[in-house]
Symmetry: C2
Subunit: 341 residues, 2 copies
């Protein structure tokens, strides 16, 4: 470990992804890249929670299938989600015979799970793991905010929880790249584990602003630990800061002498084409999971992005903590992803 | 990985623990061994949730202190708890400057966190990690069941959520035991990662029965993967099956030709001296955390237990999943702990 960053010697590879998204999401940038574009967000289920779980299960199964493998080849599922007691992940794990490690770091769950999977694969403890997460607008609204039937208005600083799930299959492929047959298979070269930061923001509708500090902290830590300039990465990807949060994050880094303006993109900011009710953009654990697993993974495989820092961001609040007057602690875990190495 | 079991070459050590428990718990077996016995379960806070968080923070800080270290020496906190969005763990992490990985596997969170810490230490990624969890009767009751003020009667198959927290400091101490100065410092020699099992039990008051299958599955997997007889272990410890769940677990193993009756103990079954309202015994993530961190850790250090299989058990339900008619998926992660090696 250099500082808070772990460098992987054996370069665990992201062999495949599995993704699924709702109709609103598929009208945007991920629509052409997901494995399944849903026509209705209930996915044939009678509750939104069951739909969310079914989507996550689909993504896990699809990642395994897209990797040309079967369930028997997988050693471990690492997953979590936004529902209380991460029931989407737990009930997804029930459908598989391999072990399950439950994780939670809100909307940074994807990168926490990927970092853990990379460590366990790199360390030689397991051969292949699936790291996955998802979220659903309607289950999140009724758990965190209000019943949809109330028709509450949303403040302009709010974001829209993404209905989507994404899974990555992370495996040890050895040092010999001849088996790649010329394909570009992205490797996880490092992981920066985030610490919890809290700048005292209490507005639960403004999580992008709260998370901006965590994203800035982790990105800066990664660059310092790896002794890299921000230009090293073709793309620095944050999870769901939204438009306002992204601006704050860039300002915070600018104050530290780091300019990420030219190569930063936020999954929440780009996922929706038209900003209407979504205001600041998308959010939710599924947001960065689906944007990475579909649109960005495709760009990596094509060589259009060669080096990426993927820093998903999580707001570690609950309705109870906010109700008791607490501010919003935030976290961001990041993984460095590279091709041609 | 042998089957679902990872064997550690570098023998990460449980250097120290930190524990705290409420007054009801301290009237029982852990009372003489915890670092702090609370006189009142609010711990000076104005809400039970804040008390739970303060207890967890205390346990983490105490484990570091008992290990003769300071915060700067610790690389990582791995923790989760039963509250929605694991706020006790997240808010605890806010008080420290080292990175945080959030975990969740209900009352198996202690062994999931210990297994992860052992892997990351054994793999050389970090030097020292704290794995911790806790629970609180009153915060659990109002989140999972009814407001305490209602004074609901409890069915005889129910358990009592333990008010306690426990933390373990897990570190790489190298192969040279001369620095131990004759002390017995327990090593984590293996970890068996659990899979989710679900035998269709839907009674949320009977989680011991639901979890019995998961415990049996993981214990059997550990014995098979390690090619060991149940007698290899001086003690096979489950988390919070309670009296009924323990009997079921032993029956399930007996059917598979494995007799754990002589060397099995369940933390939930032994934590309370007098069984009144607790019926089947204690439960909650803090139950196994505090029994292991105080009473059992002391026995390991004294050499009264030389080989232990610690299999905490978790019921992966939520009020929403139960409300939607789902059964209770369960999981058990186990760690083998040994001295004199």
């Amino acid at each position: 470990m250099k500082g808070h960053t772990i460098v992987f010697q054996n370069k665990p590879r992201i062999v495949a992804t599995g993704t699924i998204a709702g109709p609103k999401e598929c009208a945007g940038v991920v629509g052409n890249f997901v494995d399944k574009a849903l026509l209705e967000d209930t996915f044939g289920e009678d509750t939104y929670e069951k739909a969310e779980c079914k989507m996550l299960t689909f993504a896990v199964r699809k990642a395994i299938e897209n990797g040309g493998l079967t369930e028997e080849d997988v050693d471990l599922l690492i997953s979590g989600d936004l529902l209380n007691q991460i029931i989407s992940a737990s009930f997804t794990a029930r459908d598989f015979d391999f072990p399950f490690l439950g994780t939670y770091s809100a909307c940074s769950t994807m990168t926490e799970s990927m970092a853990l999977a990379a460590m366990l694969v790199d360390g030689g403890y397991i051969k292949r793991a699936v790291a996955a997460t998802g979220s659903h607008f309607s289950s999140a609204e009724r758990q965190y905010r209000y019943p949809l039937e109330l028709g509450n208005t949303r403040p302009p600083q709010s974001q829209w929880t993404v209905t989507a799930a994404g899974a990555t299959l992370i495996a040890d492929m050895g040092g010999d790249k001849s088996c790649f047959q010329g394909k570009k298979i992205p490797a996880i070269t490092a992981a920066t584990l985030g610490r919890v930061v809290d700048y005292g923001i209490t507005d639960v509708n403004n999580m992008g602003a709260a998370m901006a500090t965590a994203a800035a902290d982790t990105i800066l830590t990664n660059l310092q630990d790896m002794e890299r300039d921000a230009r090293y990465y073709d793309l620095i990807v944050t999870g769901d800061l939204g438009a306002l949060g992204s601006r704050l994050m860039k300002d915070l880094l600018w104050e530290k002498g780091v300019d990420v303006e030219p190569n930063h993109v936020d999954c929440g900011e780009i996922i929706y084409n038209v900003i209407e009710d979504e205001f600041q953009g998308g959010s939710g654990a599924g947001c960065s999971a689906v944007v990475f697993g579909s649109y960005l993974y495709e760009k990596l495989k094509k060589g259009e992005i060669r080096r990426m820092l993927f820093a998903a961001t999580g707001a570690l609040l609950s309705t109870v903590s906010s109700g008791q007057g607490e501010s919003i602690p935030c976290i961001s875990h990041a993984v460095s992803i590279e091709i041609d190495i």
